[in-house]
């Protein structure tokens, strides 16, 4: 297994906040006792603004919150929701922590790899999908599962993955999380 990918060193180039951003940051800072505490919201801001967190962006954030840049990088790498590299249109994050692993996360990852022809951390040539393997996404009850952008897709099978990815590839909107999952959960709780 290759080591965790290092973010590309060639990032956005010199970046800076716009005046509106600075106003927003100033407002954010008021929510917290120290500047340092505003790190996560500011990282979210940066990701919204530049799409992903390059080293240039992280350096800017570090200056903003008055921390060593290494600490910003440390926080950014801790959270998988913070993107450390440019991604395709859809970011597929497959959970591979215990429950999902036992429920067959490896086969899910292999299936997606085979289907898209990419390996982990890579983006398809058409720029549609990026595949990543992440730690627990807190949906152990419906393992195996993956997250595409902000949405969960649970109790995956190769067929369901095919359906989802093919739909996305054909421009259909993301299917919403399956309501029956919730029903199933409630039923099992009742019984």
């Amino acid at each position: 297994m290759a080591h965790f990918p290092t973010p590309p060193l060639d990032g956005h180039g010199p970046v800076d906040w716009s005046p509106e951003d600075q106003a927003e940051i100033a407002e954010l800072m008021t929510h917290y006792p120290t500047k340092r505490s505003a790190l996560l919201p500011i990282l979210w801001m940066a990701q919204r603004k530049w799409g992903w967190l390059s080293f240039d962006v992280m350096r800017l954030v570090a200056t903003t919150v008055d921390l060593p840049p290494s600490e910003v990088y440390s926080v950014a790498t801790f959270y998988t929701m913070l993107k450390k590299q440019p991604t395709g249109k859809y970011l597929i994050q497959v959970c591979h922590t215990l429950s999902c692993k036992l429920a067959g996360a490896e086969q899910i990852v292999d299936h997606i790899k085979k289907k898209l022809g990419i390996s982990e951390g890579e983006t398809t040539p058409d720029g549609m999908f990026t595949l990543m393997r992440v730690e627990c996404l807190a949906s152990c009850g419906s393992a195996p599962m993956m997250q595409i952008d902000d949405d969960f897709h649970e109790q995956l099978t190769p067929d369901s993955i095919d359906a989802i990815l093919d739909g996305l590839a054909q421009g259909q909107p993301l299917p919403s999380p399956r309501p029956e999952v919730d029903q199933w959960t409630f039923r099992s709780l009742e019984s």
């Binding site: 297994m1 290759a2 080591h3 965790f4 290092t6 060193l9 080293f55 992280m58 350096r59 570090a62 921390l67 060593p68 840049p69 290494s70 600490e71 910003v72 990088y73 440390s74 790498t77 801790f78 998988t80 730690e135």
Partner: protein, 536 residues
């Protein structure tokens, strides 16, 4: 003070002492990686897990258990052994096991504890996680992230000691990796400490890289003489060759740290300017002939025109020997001292360890001046020279001529020192002195701590400890100070100078002793200099 019970043995420790220290006090070793006595407790290696018998619940980490009455822990139960074994297995899961090429092997905690608590049979089925190897993270450091056990000692060092915070743990779970932000290399003067505190081979020293397997090295306790701080060090040497210097714990002086400049003082042993042979009028010769010339010069000088200059670079013993020489053998010789012999261009000064005063023994000489009010200072010396009252000067490792300049033309200088400087070039006689790691002696640091240096290697070339050279000179002049060994010299020094009263080499031990506070009558002598603070 609360009393805690460890393995059934009761021990009384100060409140707030953690269980690792408490156990160490009664000779029980609790294995640990992340705990360091001079860093905050992180509690993330889990190696120090102990069974709590009373005063707590379940297994707990010893580093974070503070002594309180009623606390009782056990470190010898099968469960503790099993926990340690499991922790070791976990820590070693992604370890590259490249001990053959790792500089840490031989002093590696992973190796040590593996032998004690190892799993021995691998259960590893998956391929190991690979990480970044051989990263250049500083001028003196190499980082191998694969060997790291994520103890975060280096992270805490950067945050708490130097405040620079270059190192961080990145990513999560078994991908956790120690590293620096790209382009932000470690650039402080305490890099070597990172290699020291790393319990495994993740951070190693570039200067010592592949130089020697550590088990060949012999450690000699000594102190650093690069500045007035006098950090306690271990000189690691083999076959008369020094390979590295590491700090030694002394809470009164340097805690566990030392600066990178101090780590390199052993390079002075063989540096270009090192005096290895005696010189007479610039001609290299043997020590006996130079000694003879010196004796003739001193005996031929008119009474009252001889002066000796104590050296703040030299040891207490050497300064005492020179002082006795001036008093006994050279009747009527005037004694001076001056400060400020700067050996190198190391202009970085901070409030942690690096002192602006580059003379390791300023306080020691000052203690002598407090005892003998007749000792003049640098201004007196300059005055005497300009007046022409001094025709012969015996200088102990002090660049007197470099400072006096042309004013000292015509003064015959007899110089005893380790390295070449402005005085050496003009001196009539030069006797080569041994470096600090080549001799037994004591130095007094900026806080008045008298500490020993011990001989680690043989003196290079013809050089000899300065106190020995002065003793021989005194013997030739008719009255030797009586410094046949450093211990005897120090014994006589402590008998004669109140500041060193009751000190012996045995009493100094490894940590040294502070100078005895000046007696009331001594205060009246040199009131002006008593509260002199060392320059920062």
């Amino acid at each position: 003070m609360p009393t805690v019970k460890i393995n059934g043995i009761e021990v009384e420790v100060p409140a707030g002492t953690n269980m690792i220290e408490a156990a160490a006090k009664i000779g029980i070793e609790i294995p640990h990686y992340c705990y360091h006595p001079h860093l905050t407790v992180a509690g993330n290696c889990r190696m120090c897990l102990c069974d709590v018998e009373a005063g707590g619940r379940g297994p707990d980490i010893a580093c974070n258990m503070q002594a309180r009455d009623g606390l009782a822990i056990r470190t010898d139960t099968p469960r503790v052994k099993q926990m340690r074994k499991s922790v070791m297995e976990f820590l070693l899961k992604n370890h590259p096991l490249d001990c053959p090429i790792c500089d840490q092997s031989g002093e590696c905690r992973l190796q040590d504890y593996y032998m004690d608590y190892g799993q021995y049979e691998s259960r590893l089925a998956d391929p190991k996680v690979t990480k970044h190897k051989r990263q250049d993270i500083g001028d003196h450091l190499v980082l191998d992230a694969e060997r790291c056990v994520a103890c975060s000692r280096c992270v805490r060092f950067g945050d708490q000691i130097t405040g620079t915070g270059e190192l961080r743990l990145f990513n999560r779970t078994d991908h956790t990796e120690i590293g620096i932000f790209p382009g932000v290399r470690i650039d402080h003067d305490y890099q070597g400490n990172l290699a020291d505190i790393c319990p495994v081979g993740a951070i190693t020293s570039k200067d010592f890289r592949f130089q020697k397997r550590v088990w060949y090295l012999t450690d000699t306790d000594s102190i650093c003489t690069a500045c007035a701080t006098g950090c306690d060090i271990k000189v690691c040497h083999e076959r008369n060759q020094v390979f590295r210097i590491k700090p030694r714990r002394n809470d009164a002086v340097n805690q566990s740290w030392m600066c990178d400049h101090g780590r390199m003082i052993w390079q002075d042993l063989t540096s270009l300017g090192r005096l290895l042979q005696a010189r007479v009028e610039g001609q290299v010769g043997n020590t006996d002939a130079a000694m003879q010339t010196a004796v003739e010069t001193l005996q031929g000088a008119e009474p009252g025109t001889v002066g000796v200059v104590l050296g703040t670079q030299a040891s207490n013993e050497a300064n005492w020997a020179l002082w006795r020489l001036a008093k006994d053998a050279l009747k009527g010789a005037s004694v001076f001292w001056c400060q400020g012999n700067d050996p190198g261009a190391w202009d970085r000064v901070d409030d942690l360890l690096i002192d602006a005063d580059k003379n390791p023994n300023t306080e020691g000489v000052r203690a002598l001046t407090r005892h003998d009010a007749s000792i003049g200072d640098g201004a007196d010396l300059a005055h005497a020279v300009r007046e022409g009252n001094l025709k012969t000067l015996l200088v102990l490792q002090d660049d007197v001529l470099g400072r006096l300049g042309d004013a000292a033309d015509g003064v015959a200088v007899l110089y005893i020192g380790t390295h070449r400087n402005g005085t050496v070039d003009k001196a009539a006689v030069v006797l080569p002195a041994a470096h600090t790691v080549e001799q037994d002696a004591t130095y007094t640091n900026r806080r008045g701590q008298v500490q020993r240096v011990r001989r680690a290697v043989h003196p290079a070339g013809d050089s000899r400890p300065a106190w020995q050279l002065l003793d021989r000179l005194g013997a030739s002049l008719g009255k030797a100070p009586g410094a046949s060994t450093a211990a005897i010299a120090f014994k006589k020094l402590s008998a004669q100078v109140p500041a060193f009263a009751d000190m012996t080499y045995r009493a100094l031990g490894t940590q040294g002793l502070p100078l005895v506070a000046p007696q009331p009558e001594a205060q009246t002598d040199q009131a002006s200099q008593e509260h002199h603070e060392p320059a920062k």
